[in-house]
Symmetry: D2
């Protein structure tokens, strides 16, 4: 199948959960009385964000057989994400929850419910080869590696992607609470990163993958000896760096914004960066798209619903040019 | 210690959790966008409700070391419940959650989060003998028997109660989702019921205890051969029956009310019934207090916050006299 | 059913396992090359021992669906134990193993395999009421309480015993490696001991039950407030004491013997004591039977196969008279 | 470090367990009364066998802190295997057991004890980089992939091997009872096989790896696209095939022998094949060494103790020339 014939620009694999955002913020969650419900989870946010920007997006994941599961499926479908690759759990697993607490722009925290969550019960035999081969790229969220059988489902999906020349994008998306040991994280992050064509993460996340305090030069040296062709390393307010296998290095600047909370910055970055890349924009532009998108989301209350439009992104870039 | 010297009328043992009630109701939860947070869980509701009615109430339970745990502790303390017997979990367990869905007065359902919940990790060594001996009565919630080590904590608490002539009240509070097998339920419900002085439940709950379709005569016959002196069996709209060891039978009628949802009826019943009993009212009056209290709660949105006052209860009884 | 019409003098409930006894002894197990296979496990040994002495004995337990399971069933049947109450596990559980090491008569140890053992997976619904009601007495081994669902099966069996006036004998049989916490042990040992008519154990085992360093007077005071009528407390070389509800106290002396190993002493004691009691001998004689039987078994290599005959027991008693 | 400076020809990683072989054979195990104790487990057998043939061999694995663990360590050290890479478990895990039953040469079976076994608790941080870099080759046993954390320890070891140009040999060693799902097996077998330089297994085992009924041509085609340079596929009595990346194919014939039991054939095959290869013999000769070694072991009672000498192997080859 040629790239032009592909039905999806991107299929994301991993968790789609529920965010419960404090309606009353700038206070501790103990004093919050009301929560608003959104879809959350890094790969779900990226899928929703990039669909909103115009990419043709699919999703592979497992949702519970309950009201939260049905909400997730409908929300994503309404956002333009193809949900035919989502599997409904039949064993009583639940939707992951993230109660967000915004004490101040600097003090945000999340209270997670991740025990027995459906997304980590996706099984390798539930990953569909025919679905994956219709994509230009498969995006793997690192958290999907945290536990069996979701972990094996990831490797199965990568095997199908490799077989059908589908690019593998690895968004490191490291969440400490889902992992038992740093060694385990490092082992599986390495196994996936070595097979990925594009790897995106923060400097801290790459350090987890390498199980040491590393530096960009050695990280990209390591991954370019395997299958990577493009690596993006994010350094917070210092901006992000893109490295290509052919040796080019790009630096994307970060945009200032009126920060409400820090959640969702990475997801909106990835959505806009990948959209730009897949739309044929150059890497430098893609970096700025990512930064602008992140800056917009942190100024808003939700993550998935706040994913910006191209117009918003370009306006921010122009305003800061 | 004489009964008059006791610091608490009632100490309840079991779960104190979080209710997340759909703000927008008369619709499926999939369409709900906002949830209000309350304290929930049967023994917590009974403790709050009976404290509100004027009893001196304590609580034994385990709460998570997070924002939800702190909210629960503060909410109960503010409601007048002594929380010095509550233990903070240090092993990462979470607060149980109940998302309530009110499609219509007849169609209510609850989406539970009960995996890894702190309340079921109360350990026998965390139950304080000195605390229990200060109570006139210890109320055990059946759900606390669902799992170790909470199950053993219940037996430990009963042992202390027996040693210090504290009455044991068993509120069957059967929730199918917390149990693995009907045999297991029956075994532990029987072991506690045989040691209880007062047993309260619905006919269906007594059937779970006996692991058969039983009838009131044989149920009370069985329990009066052990330590029971008063047994209350609830039959929904047909009202409730109280049986005493000396052979008296009382029938309490149910009150009609404008039902918003069915949650919380049993807890408010128990709170008002026990308050009446402990205030020296006769059994017939206590039954009507229970019925009236239940009728009031089902007409309101929350459970713990909606627990009625004596004035409300007596007004309803008078209006229906 | 009258006692005379009963088909079984005794039905034992609990584990039936495999002993692998070092053929070469008086050395550490590291240097052992050969092991002999026997049936083991306290209640299995008691069943075999008392059947050998002439009691009509049945057994309730769960055995694996493998060669070890079939060996256990055949060995016990050949020893005269009715095995119709034994259930074959269908979930891949295994037989418990005990590798015995005899370094010297003073230094014996056991290497246990107790993970995933079939005996602890006996379910309450696998306990047969019709079987139990045919017994004069039901013997519960404390180890069967160590884990669900075997724990619930014990309580179910006791419920049936009570219903049909079958005496409950509780052999404390405490094995630390099967328990997670001393509080848990104490809770369940107490619950069973309070329902037992005869309780047999070492002073140390009664201390576990009471979760404190106790003394015989307070122990028997506690149990006689419940359903006990006869309590036997063993004090090693100082002999054993029997206490009756009516206030009699008997002291049984211990017999000296050429000790090869210490395993199996308690089981052979119980087998001979119960046989004597059920044969109408007086309590003093029963104590001496127990002591003699224990003295014989510790001088031999195995446990189950070494259970003595009446002639051997009486010969030892006469020789020491 | 040059290959000549390396301290070890081979370091094997995986389980070292206890075999309990029926002393009385040609009968069902139910009728066996005595068992002989040996060290067992595929990688332990290969280590012992190749050490006996003259290779310098090390071992990475986890053994219990008990009599069985100490026996294993001493037995392997006595057989000439360096055991400095073996870790003693401190969490109460046990030695795996294999009770062998020899009903007839055609009917052999094994009763396994694999629940909570120490070998599967080897942790990635317990794998020593300095140890691995001293080896010419690292042999991975497929069973070590069956469970975390041993699974991650394997990937960690491979990472060290790759870093220090140590050849990775993958002995598929598939045992169905250690795996939960064929998909899981296939995922991890593929991940290791794609990194291995030498892969050895039966046709059935390669089918497990590929999760389909495959054929040798496609199997070797797949693996030569990754890092393999030599692949050995065994077809039982039809002999074995060796494939090299450069396109050569060798066929090794099987030797007839007076079969006592079938256990241990694969391990002795691998030991002799690897010894021949590492001693500079050609591939065809190595195949015959493997076949001869297997033929000798199946005619003897044990596995680890029966590993043949070079003289025995060469005598058998000559006798069949």
């Amino acid at each position: 199948m040629s790239q032009n014939e592909k039905k999806y620009d991107l299929i994301a694999l991993g968790r789609a959960c529920i965010d419960l955002n404090a309606v009353e913020y700038n206070r501790p969650m103990e004093e919050t009385h009301t929560f608003s419900k959104y879809v959350g989870g890094s790969p779900a946010n990226i899928a929703i964000g990039s669909a909103k920007l115009g990419l043709k997006v699919g999703f592979i994941g497992k949702i519970p057989d309950d009201q939260h599961g049905r909400f997730i499926q409908k929300f994503m479908a309404d956002a333009g994400v193809d949900t035919s690759g989502m599997v409904v759990d039949r064993e009583g697993h639940i939707a992951g929850l993230a109660f967000t607490e915004i004490k101040s722009p600097e003090e945000c925290s999340i209270l997670m419910y991740r025990e027995g969550v459906a997304d980590l019960y996706l099984q390798p035999e539930e990953v569909n080869e025919d679905y994956i081969k219709q994509a230009k790229a498969l995006l793997i969220s690192g958290t999907a590696l945290a536990q069996s059988p979701s972990r094996e489902a990831v490797f199965q999906a990568i095997k199908f992607a490799k077989k059908h020349q589908v690019d593998v994008i690895f968004e490191l998306d490291y969440r400490s609470y889902t992992w038992k040991s740093v060694y385990e994280t490092s082992v599986y992050y390495s196994l996936v990163a070595e097979q990925a064509n594009i790897v995106i993460g923060t400097r801290d996340e790459f350090d987890m993958m390498e199980n040491r305090k590393g530096d960009n030069a050695s990280t990209v040296g390591y991954l370019f000896r395997h299958q990577a062709k493009l690596i993006v390393i994010k350094h917070g307010v210092e901006g992000s760096y893109a490295y290509t296998k052919s040796g080019e290095i790009y630096h994307g600047t970060a945009y200032k914004s009126k920060v409400l909370k820090t959640f969702g910055a990475g997801d909106s970055y990835a959505a806009a960066f990948l959209h730009a890349l897949m739309s044929g924009k150059d890497i430098q532009t893609a970096l700025q798209y990512g930064s602008a998108s992140a800056a917009i989301v942190v100024s808003k209350h939700s993550c998935s619903e706040a994913m910006p439009t191209i117009a918003e992104i370009e306006a921010l870039i122009k305003a800061n040019a």
